[in-house]
Amino acid sequence: MELKIALRNVFRNRRRTAFSLTVIAVGTAVFLFVLAYVGEALLSERLSSACETGAVQVADERLFASQANGYDHLISPELQARVVDLVTKRPGVLGTSLELDFAGLIGDANGSTLVVGRGLTPCDCVPNTTCYAIEGKPISGGDAREAVLGRRLAAKLGVDTGASINIATGTVTGNFSAATVTVVGQVSYSLGTVEEQLGLFPTGFVQHLLKTDGVERILIGLDDLNKAPQFADELRRALAAEGIPLGVRTWQDLSTGYASSQSFYAAFSGLAGISVFALVFFSVVEILTISFLERTREVATTRAFGATRWRVFRGFLLEGAAIGAIGAVIGVVLASVLTLAFNAARITWMPPGSAVPQAIHLSLSLSTALVPLVTVILATVASSVYPAWKNARSSVVKALQAV
């Protein structure tokens, strides 16, 4: 019956309740929206990181330690084959990509500029994600003489798809090497400075250019990024057992920016939570104070019948919790509707460090909804503490005389 009384009291003054519920619902919806955005941003960053590094990466320890000298860290074809053979047997593996980077010059008769080239073998290594947003033809496997240039690099060089362009670099032994490739597409990248120098090539072609049959890294795609640490541990043991002298890192080990992003978004969410708490608290506290004080004589009556101060106090807190819960549920519904509308609009963005623009798809889960729900309920309960305490402490005799 206490809950029944609390709920009926909530709707006693409909205008006041409507105002309170509006503030609570809007606060909840905004907070939930922020959390959904943060969740989406972090997910995008995880996927972008996994695109860059693979869920798990195998390479020479010197490369991981940034102590590689020239190309002495390359993985030989024999080791490549053994690692790929070891990895592909394991469950949850989506595929592998062999990568080899180089720096050189790119240009034609009109001029040249610096290119940071990446040789890669095509792989759908990140679930439900296209790692490179390429306009035109994607990179083929093998050693085809083709290139996908960063959009800004292509613009800087004044070349378009179908154009031929020259690449020049040093080989692994330090000799000069050059080749002509056909531009088959252009790639977007969130960082302009990277897009201005980026060129993607088939790994086989880069090996040919550098006069080597080695690769720098083997990227391994997993169906679940959360399994990466466990997979890496198992792979480390397997490599050691096979006597393969290579190191293993997870995407988290290699994406130092992800931890910073997590901290940033945690602080951002915390700030949003505190703001919503304060908004709800200060909006509702006055309304509840008036609402409670209007019932001074009722409280005195119940106390005259033997209700304890604690019972009265508890009843008011329950009322605060009830209005918070109702407002929060409305807020969750509101946020769900807004989210559906937002997702239907298919707005795209380029997450930080991403190579591909993504459609923002906000998703609300029960666990996400729980945080704003609890926050606003705590805020309304907190805002009811003082007026509840004041009413519960009032003198029964004086309160019975209240009009």
Partner: protein, 246 residues
């Protein structure tokens, strides 16, 4: 009415007793005596009417007897036990179990129906729902409100509201019901009906009633009549037992 047999009057130890009770209020530098050295005792089944003009200390007396207020000096005894040393919680327990209250303005909880208002004191006693339902139905029937059980107070007339308040006061089976001006907000006919009801319940349940009023018509229902004047109680001779019909 009009004979001793009409009252449930059990001689013996007083159920409620005030000994040397004084209540003062501080108004600026001046001490105002609301009650001064009051002696009072009510036996089980008494029907006491306390008369007095406005400001004579009637409500103060009732507040002290119902232990919602404490005397400045003196003591109130319930079933022979002093209340002066009892904590707020212990006094709340006494009110919950031994005392029923009826107010001038009914003081019903507006968000609750008639039945729920009557049920509320049982809820405070943590009675099980089935027992609460049974007792509420019986009590509402007794005060003639069973057909209006679901109505909210604002859907009831003044007389009906006061009957709900009386049912609420009696639902826990208290030893004593203290009524503060129960007819003040009612027309004379409704007031009479309410007083008839209280008298009937006094007889049937053997519950002590102490009714504070300034309405002379209510005095006719008194088995004992007490006048309160300048903070002092004066027992009046009712000349046998008064009858509302006389």
């Amino acid at each position: 009415m009009g004979s001793d047999s009409r009252f449930c009057h059990v001689r013996g130890r007083p159920f409620l007793e005030a000994r040397d009770v004084t209540k003062t209020y501080q108004v600026g530098a001046e001490t105002v005596y609301a009650l001064r050295d009051v002696q009072f005792a009510a036996l089980q089944g008494d029907f006491v009417v306390i008369n007095g003009p406005s400001g004579s200390g009637k409500t103060t007396f009732l507040n002290l007897m119902s232990v919602i207020d404490r005397p400045t000096s003196g003591d109130v005894f319930i079933e022979g036990q002093s209340t002066s040393a009892k904590s707020e919680g212990q006094l709340a327990l006494l009110r919950k179990t031994k005392i029923g209250l009826v107010f001038q303005s009914f003081n019903l909880i507006p968000v609750l129906s008639a039945a729920e208002n009557v049920e509320y004191p049982l809820l405070l006693q943590k009675r099980p729902p089935a027992e609460r339902r049974t007792r509420v139905a019986a009590m509402l029937s007794e005060v003639g409100l069973d057909a209006l059980a679901r109505r909210r107070p604002n859907e009831l007339s003044g007389g009906q509201r006061q009957r709900v308040a009386i049912a609420r006061a009696l639902i826990t089976g208290p030893m004593i019901v203290l009524a503060d001006e129960p007819t003040a907000n009612l027309d004379s006919k409704t007031g009479e009906a309410v007083m008839d009801l209280m008298r009937r319940l006094n007889e049937e349940h053997c519950v002590t009633f102490i009714v504070v009023t300034h309405d002379p018509a209510v005095s006719r229902y008194a088995q004992r009549r007490v006048r309160i004047h300048d903070g002092q109680l004066i027992e009046e001779d009712v000349g046998g037992l008064a009858s509302p019909a006389s």
